[in-house]
């Protein structure tokens, strides 16, 4: 992991995991890799938090898990998005967009002269 990678904002891990999985079923390590890859290495997922997050999302029925075999033919638990997960991801993406636009607008304000 590059030293310049940024730690995630609190509460955003679930959203990122859902997005990563929405592109296709992944095992835990695959989720980690995909987030790093999509963020161009800018975001670093704390490995210790990843698995509790995955299990939590399964418990909330946003993700479903099943056992399959990974690229090197090992047994691995794969996660995929459920119907509810899709809806949730859409909602949260919209919300995130509004919040970040808002924050960006606030931060872009200049002092009135």
């Amino acid at each position: 992991m590059s030293a310049s990678a940024t730690l995630l904002l609190p509460g955003t891990l679930d959203l990122l995991v859902l997005k990563a999985v929405s592109l296709g079923p992944l095992h835990g390590y695959g989720v980690l890799l995909r987030i790093e890859q999509l963020s161009g290495g800018a975001l670093q997922v704390p490995q210790g938090s990843l698995y509790p997050a995955l299990h939590r999302l399964v418990q909330q029925r946003l993700l479903a898990s099943e056992w399959g075999s990974s690229d090197n033919n090992r047994r691995a638990r794969f996660y995929r998005l459920t119907e509810g997960g899709h809806r949730h991801l859409e909602q949260e993406t919209g919300r995130w967009a509004r919040v970040s636009e808002g924050i960006a607008a606030v931060l872009a304000a200049e002092a009135a002269s």
Partner: protein, 874 residues
Amino acid sequence: MRRWLHTLRNRRYERELAEEIEHHIDERTADLVARGLDPDGARSQARREFGSVDLVKDHCRDQDRLAWLDELTRNLRFAVRRLRRAPGVFVAVVATLALCVAANAVVFTVVDTVLFQRLPYPAPEELFEVQWSSEQSRGSLRDSVDGTMWQSLADTAPELRACVYSDWTQGVNLIARSPTGAEVATVVERQRVGSGFFELLGVPMASGRGFDIDEDRVGGAAVAVVTWRLWRDRLGAREDVLGSRLLLAGEAHTVVGVTAERFDPGTGAEVFTPLRASREGEGSGTNYRILARIGDHERAGATAALDTASRSVAAMRGDGFSFEPVPLLQARSGWLRDRLLVLWAAVGAVLLIRCVNIAGLLIAAAGRRRQEMATRRALGGGAWAVTRQLLTENLLQTACGAALGLALAGVAMRWVAGWARTALGLTHDFALDDRALLYTLAVALLATVLFSLAPTARLARTDRSSLRQRGVTDRRSKGRAVLVAGQVALGVSLLLAATLLTRSLSGLSSADPGVELEGVVSGAVSLADANFAEAGAVREYFASGVEALRADPRLVGAGAFLSLPFQRGLNMNFTLAGDDDRHLTVVNYATPGALELLAVRHVAGRLIEDRDRSTSPLVAVVNQTFTELHLAGRQPLGARISLMGAEREVVGVVGDVRQVPSFSASAPLARDVPTVYLPADQFPVEAMGMVHTWFQPHWVVRARATPAAGTEALRSAIERLEPVTPIARISGLEEARARALAVERFQALLFAVLALLALVLAAVGLAGITATEIGARRREMAVRIALGSSLPEVVRRAILPILGVAAIGLAIGLLLAQLGGRALRGMLHGIGTDDPWSHLIVIGCLVGVAVLACAPPALRLLRLPVASVLQDEA
């Protein structure tokens, strides 16, 4: 709790969690190796990056913990904590629920077994009893038939699968070889059944067969069928029992069959002999029953056959006679049906009271816990979370109460079953089966959950604003008052029913029996025996027996009767001299001095004396009811009556003796039964054999000291006298009376228990509402006291509304009882449902209970710390 959850989680979960993390570290290691690290370094770096595996696993487990289970355990822990804080309420709730559950389980088992469950025979729905009605019976069915009716049915409807039998059992003497080789004489219950009886009931024999047609004819071979139990216990379980000889009733019988172990004839019989139905003798009266098996496809044919038979009997009798098939289950349990249904209703009423009670307690709890709930809601507890918490508490109580109740029911069931067997003669196999368990569980759930849903849901809706309104009474207490009045009403009607039944019973059992019971001991012997076929043998037996007993210094006197007080007597038709009208009377016989021994009141003329021998002029002694009914306006002494083919003179009149009326039954024991006493020596020889197959005569002695001495004297004297004629059922007359009233006692006691339970529950309800009411009005009371109201005035104001609730409940209850009283009417004797004393007792009880229930909270009011209440709530 944590460890418990861990063990609950299965091993597979742990294995998969470990595997998942291991896979992650392996993948990471492989990536790092691909980037050029050496394998060992790569692995340790992967582990470092991952952090503590145990910690991650723990966090995963936290996420995966079964959410509802977790909440349930949390709720349960909370409930247990709360219950520990108020153990009194918990114990009260669990105890009352347990009693309700136990009562319901036991009564349901009895009702279900007797009324609804299938008879213990194959295809029991095909079994019918053929009953009959005529114009004279005005549509009501008679269950017994005479020989003519049976013969007509058998002749005109041979295609009908039917048989005739007697449902009476009598003790007869059985002489069997004991395992030690000695011959032992015992009395066994014998039932006489026609050919085809066992085949129709359909339970295959353990071995051998039932009776064939030739054996069931007069003069047929002497054969017997024994029950499995008799074979095992008395016949030494011999393999070669079929074809062996059995000395039964003094006659050698060949054993042709052994019934199956589980075979239950429903009469308690231990041995069966052929009935040999005829039109004469026994068959001239309605002493038989008809059993028929009618399959579904045979219905039409059977109806047609019965119609044909009905017409042929009707033509003979000319009275619109008609046969009617009645399902056997109904025919057997019909006499208990009303009583059991009333009992079931009563136990249901108790359950309803208990439900109302729970609802009331919960409303009260809602009042007290509004603060807590509002706080929880304010802290973010969802409405359903709060409801679930309350339901968990109820479920905990239900579970405890139901478990305790079932345990209690198990104990009570054994007791009730024993009683039903000995007192009511029910041979059913009473046991708490899965039907009863299911019913009980449903009942317990209904009692708590359903009735607690409304109050809890309402409580859960408590909003945050009630945090501010402390101690304000609301309209809810009005709803609760209605509930309490309702439960008082149900309790009152149950109490009234119990009081009426108890007073009816005590009237029956304390009424003058017409004889002196003290010290009297009796025992039955069976004279339906080849040894007593000659009338002379019977006379000889009585004479020598009386002589032997009179010689015993422990006894005041001795005698013999055909039937005793508190028993059912023999019915006979008689005519008065110069009149052809036939009347019915009870006929009894007595040895000289026997009437004096029982201290039957001597009214006129003389009693039976030593001079009344078979050769001397025929005489009779009649009772007062007989003279009033049949000799009114005449001089009874010297009147002549014709009985069993011989004319005799009335020489004496005695007082009435209480007995089980065998015709025009109105009460279980009655004194107004016309009765004729004949000297035992003068009882008609022709009738002797027949009468002794129905009735076992009784020896009677009066002990000088204790009844135990009488028992011993009686047994030793009679068995020495005639070793092959054992004496059975030795008991005091008091016990005989208790036996005759067994059904009434059974019912009165069960009702009393239920009424007591209902009263306790109503008291709990009243006490609860008083406590809440006074609790809610503490401030008002304090203000009143501070402003100078006297304490008694304040107490009066506090409890008057409660007594008002009780009074309304009482009024409704008495009204309810009037409506429901119709069901009880047939079960009350000597009093009506409007019995004023019973009403007074109920009112008194209720006033007492109401005062007792609201006294403690009202007395607490006297110690009200006025200043602090005012300060606290200002």
